[in-house]
Symmetry: C2
Subunit: 196 residues, 2 copies
Amino acid sequence: MTSNKELQEKRMRGYFIEAASEILKGEGLKAVNVRSVSERAGYSYATLYNYFKDLNELVFICVSGFLNECEAMAAEQSAKHQPGKDRIKSSMKSLAGYFVQYPGIFELCFIERINNPVANQSSAKLIYELVDRITQEDFEHLIRNNIISSQTAKTTTLILKNSMAGLLLHYLNRLQPNDYKTFIANLDEQLTAILA
Amino acid sequence: MTSNKELQEKRMRGYFIEAASEILKGEGLKAVNVRSVSERAGYSYATLYNYFKDLNELVFICVSGFLNECEAMAAEQSAKHQPGKDRIKSSMKSLAGYFVQYPGIFELCFIERINNPVANQSSAKLIYELVDRITQEDFEHLIRNNIISSQTAKTTTLILKNSMAGLLLHYLNRLQPNDYKTFIANLDEQLTAILA
DNA sequence: TTATAAAATTAACAATGTTAATAAAAATAA
DNA sequence: TTATTTTTATTAACATTGTTAATTTTATAA
């Protein structure tokens, strides 16, 4: 049972979270600051501190919403394929597409320093295991049908998640390679080889 | 031929570069600011602006020095091995060791935003191709002896560089996995699979 | 309706990057 | 050598951003 007070407080937090999420998606992390978020939420900058320990806490609360959205997008793409390696490939391309569309979210999830010790462990784990969650069903299918061993699945997931993070880091943060076409070609080349 | 003026100017830049490099190695990127660097260099904070466009330019000038040091460390390790896959593995472990020892340098090379358009392209490329340079000799050897094809070498380098960046990003930035032992085990597992 | 509690706002401060104005030092010309 | 000019370095100042303190406004209870 939630009291009136709790409901109101939850709503207030929601206004700030929504404002921060919108700015993150539209203008990226560098545009997020106490004053811009509070203004968009319709309150003064100091009001934010009545509902969040600091700006960092607020920003990291946005993470799980974004991860859900990214997973949903990958799942939607998955629905078009049969379980298996092709579907993993397609899911990873969808994941890459999400972060290319919202570079600010990539920055937040993989790059921005976390000062908040609470959000720290839980959200870091949530991010780290994103690829695991998206590909879990397919890997289980591959193991069940004796296409790959359980050990191979574990190793492949590790390489998959690290190489996706690295690929996106280089491209979004350093523009390496410096054209989109090559980036897409590299993505495909990498996925094909890892899942061979 | 360098004039007196050029020599003196080069020296001055050197003092600031050295100061910034020391802070980067010791306390990391967060401890680098105009005032701390200038103080260590023995000058006032505004003097820095007589020799560098801004703090960003100075900080990114440090990059190539660090990359050289990292390559040298990998080369030293390499000298103990015969050319081939084992040597690539050993070089990559040495590279990982360097960045684990100096997380501030990893942050600078892979994470920190570049605002300087000049340093941008050149230093981004230098960073992106670090793994290529370190492994070049070995891949040439493998191709020459028909152990792998030239195409496989290209793809393997791509996966190697991305998965190393991702592995380090997750570990240094998010403490995933959250113990050193597992990190080292993952590093080995990943390298073994990629170079299989 | 008035006293009290809660919430929101404005004012203020600290840290940092950067520029402008001033001072000091060095170089040059008489 | 001394005066002038140029170069270099420093201090002062300002803008931005995160955060806290003091104050005002709003809601609640007697």
